[in-house]
């Protein structure tokens, strides 16, 4: 069952290192290679990959690379050409890559070019009965499946938070460069920058220990018959500042901006968690003014400890979706909570 395994990664925006998820996925690839008696090859893409390769040299794996200015920024045409070239050089049966936005865009196309097959959002890779199985979720985290494929190469894009990151001492790596010529039709698309959405603060923090979710209740009329959106904004932003939490929102809240209702100025669709939003990974989650309906809660699949504040004791969170439901006014609780956290 010996497998020729290629771990494929790209340098991060610093241009020097790999994204953190790459080290987690490398750990999984190394485990799989050891378990299957396979040989691991590393492939790297970026403008300059030497420093990133040095960080991986102690794996002892062969390192292939495609580098140069045309490979500095994400772009489908050039990234696909680079990944294709590395795969053709390494001739792997399995290609394991991190689920970064850059690779989620391009790897499926590479699989098609190589007559391979691809699966994404993999949460674990195991060897069972001398066969390799991968686990992933279907129907937005509502059903989990273990899958196998006969086709090779089989491309597996693995999600973050699913394996311990590999660590090792840096030393000078011996890289085998692959020349990939870039034609004019591959540069029809040009990188123009990175844009942070209009926001009073950077509210999405993937590394935060806490996810704070705001629901539509924050913008609804309160007990006095009036909206208190300005106070809600202050309370939420203060909480994010005091706790270091990442901000999520329910669909009903983020949709309000498109329906000309009073909205939280810093809340965008990027914050949306749930069926049609993200499925973030944080150890803890606190939901406020959100009913905890199933389409939203599927986005909490990977939140371990869950608490909610809601005025309705029969809301969805009470039905086995949260560990603790506080039946209370979130405006009042958040005001006191902010005061306490500011002191700590």
């Amino acid at each position: 069952m010996s497998q020729n395994i290629l771990f494929l990664a790209h340098v991060d925006e610093s241009g020097k290192s790999l994204p953190r998820i790459a080290f987690e996925v490398l750990g999984a690839a190394l485990d799989l290679a050891a378990g299957s008696g396979g040989v691991l090859t590393i492939g790297l893409i970026g403008e300059n990959v030497q420093e990133a390769a040095d960080g991986l040299a102690s794996t002892g794996a062969r390192i292939l690379s495609v580098s140069g200015r045309e490979f500095a920024h994400p772009r489908y045409s050039t990234d696909a050409a680079a990944a294709e070239a590395i795969c053709r050089a390494a001739t792997p049966e399995l290609v394991i890559t991190p689920s970064t936005s850059r690779f989620l865009r391009v790897i499926p196309g590479v699989a098609q070019r190589l007559s391979g097959q691809v699966d994404t959002h993999i949460t674990s890779i195991e060897i069972a009965d001398s066969r390799i199985s991968a686990k992933r979720w279907f129907y937005r985290q509502r059903l989990e499946a273990a899958i196998q494929r006969d086709a090779r190469p089989w491309f597996l894009l693995m999600d973050s938070g699913c394996h311990e990151p590999w660590t090792g001492a840096a030393r000078t790596a011996n890289i085998e460069p692959i020349d990939v010529p870039v034609s004019p039709d591959q540069t029809r698309t040009v990188f123009a920058g990175i844009r942070t959405p209009n926001s009073d603060a950077q509210t999405i923090r993937p590394d935060a220990k806490l996810l704070f979710v705001a629901g539509a209740g924050w913008c609804k009329k309160q007990g006095d018959g009036k909206n208190h959106v300005a106070e809600a904004e202050v309370a939420i932003l203060s909480f994010l500042q005091n706790s270091g939490a990442s901000l999520g929102g329910s669909k009903s809240l983020v949709d309000q901006s498109g329906e000309n209702q009073a909205v939280l100025g810093f809340m965008t669709h990027l914050n949306q968690v749930g069926q049609t939003g993200s499925t973030p990974r944080h150890p803890k989650g606190l939901s406020t003014c959100c009913h905890g309906e199933e389409p939203h809660v599927v986005g909490w699949r990977f939140i371990n400890e869950r608490r909610a504040i809601n005025l309705d004791p029969n809301c969805g969170w009470a039905r086995g979706k949260a560990d603790v439901l506080y039946v209370a006014d979130a405006f009042q609780v958040m005001e006191r909570l902010n005061a306490l956290l500011a002191k700590k």
């Binding site: 994400p74 489908y76 098609q112 691809v118 086995g320």
Partner: protein, 269 residues
């Protein structure tokens, strides 16, 4: 004739998200219990792609929108009764028993073949739209596979905004890590855009648009050719998550007590 777009939107249908899903095993692989009875909706991200497509076409006269959908015909008809009221398009239906367990490679193959047979489609003006992921398989690979089959080398995923510049180039914002956007400029079609939510609200139902659409949609559905999907995936197991939490409902505590408990919980490592 500059800035005339031929926009093809690939869209599947999915069970209404409020439905409980229970997996079953069938001779052809896993499926959902009572799947044909579950109410279905247009896949949400594909829906955003459709609304963005019709909005773009409305701003550039001469442009046209096709909706290509591979799904069980009866379910597709049910979904079209609603979707057809929201946007103007020509439906290209493919009658297949597709669900979340169908293999993306097989779905991409029939979608690609269907697009290649669209009469009057100018591939040099083609913008291929779809959702960046589905609410069923959720893989986010089908569009890229279709794009490769059609030879489209300018592809974008997680798109939230498309702006046509004065020179006809396309400025495209794609979601990346950390709640940010990657900004790219593409010279123009052909290009593939897998949409996230975009910026447009769901259009209100317009019965007149619906009636006009359905005049063409019903005959198209009747003529839809059945196709089959080759299953490349072997499912070892399909299970719903088992975890059901024992929720502690705290009703009779003061705001100060609740805040204190939460503060302690938050600062715990």
């Amino acid at each position: 004739m500059s800035n005339v777009y031929h926009i093809v939107v690939c869209a599947g249908i999915v069970p209404d998200p409020l439905q409980t899903l229970e997996p079953i095993t069938t001779p052809t692989g896993p499926a959902l219990k009572n799947e044909m009875m579950l109410p279905a909706v247009l896949d949400p991200w594909s829906g955003h792609a459709l609304y963005e497509a019709t909005n773009l076409a409305a701003h550039f006269p001469g442009s046209k929108v096709w909706l290509v959908s591979a799904a069980p015909k009866a379910k597709l008809q049910q979904v079209m009764m609603n979707v057809a009221q929201k946007a103007s398009f020509e439906l290209i239906p493919i009658d297949v028993p597709a669900n979340g367990f169908a293999d993306a490679h097989s779905v991409a193959k029939i979608l690609g073949e269907a697009i290649q047979t669209i009469a009057g489609l100018d591939r040099s003006r083609l913008l291929l739209f779809g959702g960046w992921e589905s609410a069923s398989r959720g893989a986010g690979v089908t569009m890229q596979l279709v794009g490769e089959r059609l030879g489209i080398r300018d592809q974008f995923q997680g798109v939230d905004q498309l702006t046509v510049q004065n020179d006809g180039s396309l400025e495209i914002l794609e979601r990346i890590e950390g709640g940010r956007h990657l900004v790219s400029t593409c010279q123009g079609p052909p290009a593939l855009l897998g949409w996230a939510t975009g910026n447009l609200p769901e259009p209100k139902n317009n019965p007149q648009v619906g009636m006009a659409n359905m005049r063409a949609i019903m005959p198209a559905l009747q003529k839809a050719k059945p196709a089959s999907l080759f299953q490349n995936v072997r499912y070892v197991s399909v299970t719903p998550p088992k975890q059901q939490r024992q929720t502690r409902v705290v009703k009779d505590r003061s705001v100060d007590e609740i805040a204190a408990e939460l503060a302690e919980w938050i600062v715990q490592s």
